[in-house]
């Protein structure tokens, strides 16, 4: 079962604005880019061509792992606005 299949079990209410952001210059200098593998929802992907971090914030599980794992403390992490984001039917 791949990550997209796992995420497809979830209900989301997508906001038009991201609740997550990074400073791409810092990401460019970041060797490990931990967020690109540690995020359990595969939210972060480094775009080598454009030198920007693609953030699929709409898939976020709101766990907070990326913010704690980031070596350069470069992830601005908020909860999504009330009524937006993931909804767990079991939990």
């Amino acid at each position: 079962m791949n990550i997209n299949e796992k995420l497809s079990t979830l209900k989301y209410n997508k906001d038009n604005e991201s609740h997550l952001s990074v400073d791409n210059d810092k990401c460019m200098r970041c060797k490990d880019k931990v967020c690109t593998y540690i995020c359990p929802a595969n939210v972060y992907e480094w775009n080598e061509e454009k030198c920007i971090m693609t953030i699929r914030y709409e898939n976020c599980l709101e766990c907070g792992a990326c913010k704690i794992a980031c070596e350069s403390e470069n992830i601005t992490w908020h909860y999504p606005k009330a009524q937006y984001g993931v909804k767990f039917k079991n939990g």
Binding site: K6, L61, A65, Q83, V86, K89, G91
Partner: protein, 430 residues
């Protein structure tokens, strides 16, 4: 509430800590506003897991008669995995259950309903942007749209507690002090679950999984039975996930497909995937949990005993003790840090701080011996059973000798025996 936007106590977060605080206050006739960012209580909440009977019943007497519980845990199992084999221990018991499996979406909703019945005001869909400060003292909450004021704020906003951080009560969380947990809820016919876990119609199993795909990390797998689903997942230290460059959902797949785990979930359908952080730094990572007009409870205060897999019980107890302190402060109309410091004393006299202090160094000892615990112990246990049970042409004496030689050769394992002694001593002392 007399004034629309002013109340005696605001509790932020309707998880186990927050709801326990709110209902305790309401029962005492105090005005309490419980705010929650989810559409309803439980909407955003995730755990392993189980709730524990004693601390839950202290808040909700005889909850098992009416609350939406899944199964009463009557079997505890430990799996020690190698890459392709396992040794399993099971402890089964009759009588009153010590723990129950629940779905947070149903359970938390029920708890809040009880608090509302007792007089607590509940405001869902309310995300607190920040605390309102007056001369450095907390006087209320700001949602960005509205402001609410109170004499006391109880912060129970979970492991990421942005509010405790705002107050500077919490430092940046170290990655070794937090575990990332991922989980799937896997649906199967009720009877299949009961047959596979050897449980009855209402009883359930809780399983802890060591080693195998989770070896050489501060990681633990788990399986819990609900009525017609199995919750299967693992948690692992963020530092270890980084060190081994682990992709959590891929590791979860490896765990699901381990030959000793797969038969339990075979032909099941995953109905939900989730992730959550667990504060696992223990005693040494607990922040200052009170100040003028404010207290912190539950995961926000890092109150988790990961050696015994306890969290929801400590959350409920800490929420209740914070509320009892608030009641006293309201009666005295004194909300100063010196009065609220009573909350910390109450925690110290309870199992919360007693147990966390007992294990304040255990995690470091476990961490130091993690290779032995998660690789060598399972390997030797499996090899021991293999020697005991397999018939072939090799003389037993040769097998015993090889086993002992290997055992002694592994400095890791012989030097890690003090680990068991240490943990046992800790539990026997006091």
């Amino acid at each position: 509430m007399s004034n629309k936007n002013k109340t005696e106590v605001i509790v932020v977060g309707a998880g186990p800590a927050g709801v326990s605080a709110a209902i305790t206050l309401a029962r005492s006739g105090k005005e309490v506003l419980l705010v929650e960012r989810g559409d309803f209580a439980g909407d955003k909440n995730v755990f392993g897991g189980t709730i524990y009977t004693e601390q839950t019943a202290e808040i909700f007497p005889e909850f098992w008669k009416t609350a939406p519980i899944e199964r009463a845990v009557s079997s505890q199992k430990i799996f020690m995995l190698t890459d392709n084999s396992s040794v399993q221990f099971e402890y089964k018991y009759e009588g009153e259950a010590n723990a129950y499996t629940v779905y947070r979406s149903k359970w938390d909703k029920w708890c809040v309903l009880q608090a509302q019945k007792e007089g607590a005001f509940f405001a869902p869909k309310t995300l607190v942007k920040e605390l309102i400060l007056d001369n450095g003292k907390v006087v209320g909450i700001d949602t960005g749209m509205e402001k609410f004021y109170s004499d006391i704020v109880i912060i129970a906003d979970g492991v990421n507690s942005l509010l405790a951080k705002q107050l500077g009560l919490r430092n940046k969380i170290k990655d070794k002090d937090v575990s990332l947990s991922v989980k799937e809820v896997i649906k199967l016919p009720k009877e299949k679950i009961e047959d596979r876990f050897l449980i009855n119609e209402n009883t359930g199993a809780g399983c802890k999984i060591l080693g195998g795909p989770l070896k050489d990390m501060m990681a633990l797998g788990f399986m819990y039975t609900n009525k017609d689903t199995i919750s299967l997942g693992f948690s692992a230290g963020i530092d270890d996930l980084k060190k081994h460059k682990i992709i959590p959902y891929e590791l979860l797949e490896q765990l699901k497909n381990h030959p000793s785990i797969l038969p339990y979930i075979k032909n099941g359908v995953t109905v939900e995937y989730s992730s959550h952080l667990i504060p696992e730094g223990g005693f040494n990572s607990i922040p200052k949990i009170y100040d003028n007009r404010v207290m912190i409870a539950g995961d926000a205060a890092m109150l988790v005993n990961n050696v015994h897999f306890e969290g929801t019980n400590l959350a409920m107890l800490s929420g209740r003790l914070a509320a009892e302190t608030a009641i006293d402060a309201l009666n005295r109309q004194d909300f100063s840090a010196s009065v609220l410091s009573d909350y910390y004393k109450k925690l110290q006299n309870s199992i919360v701080m007693k147990d966390l202090e007992t294990h304040k160094n255990t995690i470091d000892v476990l961490r130091k011996n993690i290779h032995a615990l998660t690789s060598l112990y399972p390997e030797f246990a499996c090899e021991f059973f293999d020697i005991l049970t397999s018939a072939d042409s090799i003389p037993k004496k040769v097998k015993y000798n090889n086993f002992m030689k290997k055992f002694i050769k592994h400095k890791g394992i012989s030097s890690s025996f003090p680990l068991l002694v240490y943990v046992l001593e800790k539990c026997i002392k006091k």
